[in-house]
Symmetry: C2
């Protein structure tokens, strides 16, 4: 058995690890969900923006932290340093790793053209060159909503944002999830009230509660942050407080720590929880262990865990910040926002097999071509139906009807139309009925 030289060069392409790609059926379902999420964001008056997928490396690297290592930089494949210079002079480009960095740059750049409070929605891909693992992709779709304003921003947005994201999670079909909400001022005010000075370090340790447990945190608080055992225990005590309404306030107050920032934080979180409860939402809980790693959050912080899949980490998160674009413009722009990990969630649902596309194809009906039919007439019928909002294919071969029906079956097309007999057929039930292009409907 010898192979021709031509065949030897044939290699079936394989998936690139960390990059999701769907069959058309799954893509259709995914697109429908994304369309619904975009409409949800718009229903709250959030405007879409679509910055380029690249930013200057200097902009991307400014946030610092772990992300630097994961940045994808662009190079012109065939470009020598000399030839690039002209166009890119010190402005190397990289793929964005989140939607916040482009948002900050966008607000600063278009400041004079925006109306404040500026409510922006952005459903877009991000890229991180990290090692692919459960729920981590190198290209992933995120949905972000943020409201920013000049100087100050009403606290009401601190409950509106999680309500929107709750709607997105519902659209995605996530069940058994929980919003955990806190306010940075509570922990830092409380720690100040306890006389603790190195608040950042202590916060960072308390943030590990989920990972290393109470004992681990206590040990670190004593050994690394050099707290006395009673102070460490009191610090930890706050982080164990949870409630599904504003009742956490009493629990905090019973700890007897007095601090002005703590009081403000309690008022704010209490307000947010009260409104969330009033909205009828059931997935919201105050959880004072939540700190969110990013230093730029200054008030409300959110984290959403999917109880069925804790290994995914948070499937949505965010918070309130004091100043979005301070590195660009001399204006104070506070804001609050959340981000939902659409790829992370959809990828998991796909993996566990709970995705059930309702439609297998965009096509509503296939027009059968009988061998004696006039092609222009078939097209005229198709055009008429398309103008009425239907998705229509013509089977462009006057072939055996069985072959045409088999195509409709394989593709999952719900209806076929026989112009010759002025009839249509429901492919699922097998029922046939008279066809009239003016009234034919797929519902």
């Amino acid at each position: 058995m010898s192979q021709s030289p031509q065949k030897l060069s044939i290699t079936k392409p394989t998936p690139i690890s960390g990059f999701l790609e769907f069959t058309p059926e799954v893509q259709l379902h995914f697109d429908q969900l994304v369309t619904k999420i975009r409409a949800l964001f718009a229903s709250y008056g959030f405007e879409s923006i679509e910055p380029p997928v690249v930013e200057r490396m200097a902009v991307l690297a400014a946030k610092g932290g772990d992300v630097d290592k994961e940045l994808y930089a662009l190079t012109r494949a065939a470009g020598e340093p000399g030839s690039q210079k002209e166009n890119e002079k010190g402005f190397e480009l990289g793929l964005r790793y989140d939607l916040t960095v482009p948002f900050a740059r966008y607000v600063a750049q278009h400041f004079g053209q925006l109306v404040f409070p500026f409510k922006r929605a952005h459903v877009g891909y991000c890229w991180r060159g990290e090692r692919p693992q459960d729920g981590r992709y190198r290209q992933f779709l995120q949905g972000d909503v943020d409201v920013v304003n000049v100087d100050s921003l009403p606290l009401s947005f601190d409950y509106e944002i999680p309500l929107i994201i709750d709607g997105a999670l519902e659209i995605l079909g996530v069940q058994n999830y929980q919003f955990r909400i806190s306010n940075r001022k509570i922990l830092s005010g409380y720690l100040s009230g306890l006389g603790i000075e190195n608040i950042q370090a202590v916060t960072r340790i308390i943030d590990k509660l989920d990972k290393i447990g109470a004992e681990g945190v206590l040990k670190m608080l004593c050994e690394e942050a050099k707290l006395s055992a009673p102070i460490a225990e009191k610090a930890l005590k706050l982080a164990t407080i949870k409630s599904s309404d504003a009742s956490f306030v009493d629990n905090v107050q019973s700890l007897g720590v007095q601090n002005k920032q703590l009081t403000i934080g309690l008022e704010e979180l209490s307000y947010v929880m009260t409104r969330l409860v009033a909205s009828g939402g059931t997935k919201f809980s105050a959880d004072l262990s939540i700190t969110r790693g990013f230093d730029y959050y200054t008030g409300t912080v959110y984290e959403v865990r999917w109880n069925d899949h804790p290994s995914l980490g948070s499937i949505a998160a965010g918070g309130r910040y004091e100043d979005l674009a301070s590195s660009y413009i001399n204006k104070k722009i506070p804001g609050v926002g959340m981000s939902v990990g659409i790829s992370r969630i959809f990828g998991k649902l796909l993996q566990v097999g709970t995705i059930s596309p309702q439609k297998r194809t965009v096509t509503d009906a296939l027009i059968i071509w009988d061998s004696d039919a006039d092609e222009d007439e078939l097209n005229a019928i198709a055009t008429k139906l398309r103008k009425r909002g239907l998705n229509i294919e013509v089977f462009y071969e006057p072939d055996k009807v069985a072959k045409q029906l088999s195509y409709a079956n394989k593709k999952g097309i719900p209806f076929v139309i026989f112009p010759k007999y002025k009839e249509f057929k429901n492919m699922q039930s097998g029922a046939q009925a008279p066809f009239d292009p003016e009234t034919f409907s797929v519902h």
Copy 2:
């Protein structure tokens, strides 16, 4: 006058040359057009796919030609060669420069999961690191439709594809454009019939007709392709034939050249033109000067010029090919497709000022917060309206009504609602009317 050190570091970000970015108002208009184009593609039964924006460099470079120099390769910013190796072993990634390369790879990779004829739509960004110039962006949105089948594909798709793209151009608001359609078999059969051997070289020279004119082409045909003057003139004669229907056939036949491939090409193009005329389209012309540079086209070829902006080159183009994925799988997969340059067109419309967004914001109505109103009640009204499909904002500050109206005005929100007075106001006409959340409509 001294500046604080902090202020010195503030630098307003500037646009990255070659990357379009829109204000929210323009983005809204752009998104609406793209949504309509996607719906148009679906109305013909074309399924959307969304391959990752990156492909392996080996896949991208396979097509060869000029594009190589424009490829954007990805590198992990902080990755040393050693650390990359593990994940990327010889599989460097680059950004796609068109939607055809990912399509070919996709079809080969998912071959067993696709239903043929496979009709795919892909509206997606592509990247080319070329020097930015009129109508050329480094990131640009394209809309592609292709039909492929195993072994053979009905010729009917050769007129369906330009009809779809015609619809997309109409949606984009392009006026005064022309489809120029030919068939590769006509020119190559004709040249063979003339006894010319180096058909590729001659085709490439004739392709320059637009740029260098008839005299320039004749000169090159004689000097470079070594044709005799009479043969060169006869070769050129074919390329000057145009018609808005199938009448070009007579003109070709009157040239008296006999060749089997020529005959087939004439039959095919005649069929395509006849159906296009029957469809009622007026922008289609047979133009035998069209060859399309890419060697892989084998039959019908299309090119769309925008008469108002000839410097843009083609705003849509495509053709029929014999084999989409021969480098991957041992199947013959012929197809036909076209690509429309959405960014190229929209960017030009924006530049010449013919874009007129019908809506300035997604928001349908703003709910006014009177200082004595109950916030939860305002939210309940908003929720009720959103459930009815409306996009609603609440002004989250019980501030002066004038300030709230000014926000609605600045943002272009068409209606404001005064729950306290059970009234709503049309911001454009100033008319007020009773408000009922069950019946309120913006139309």
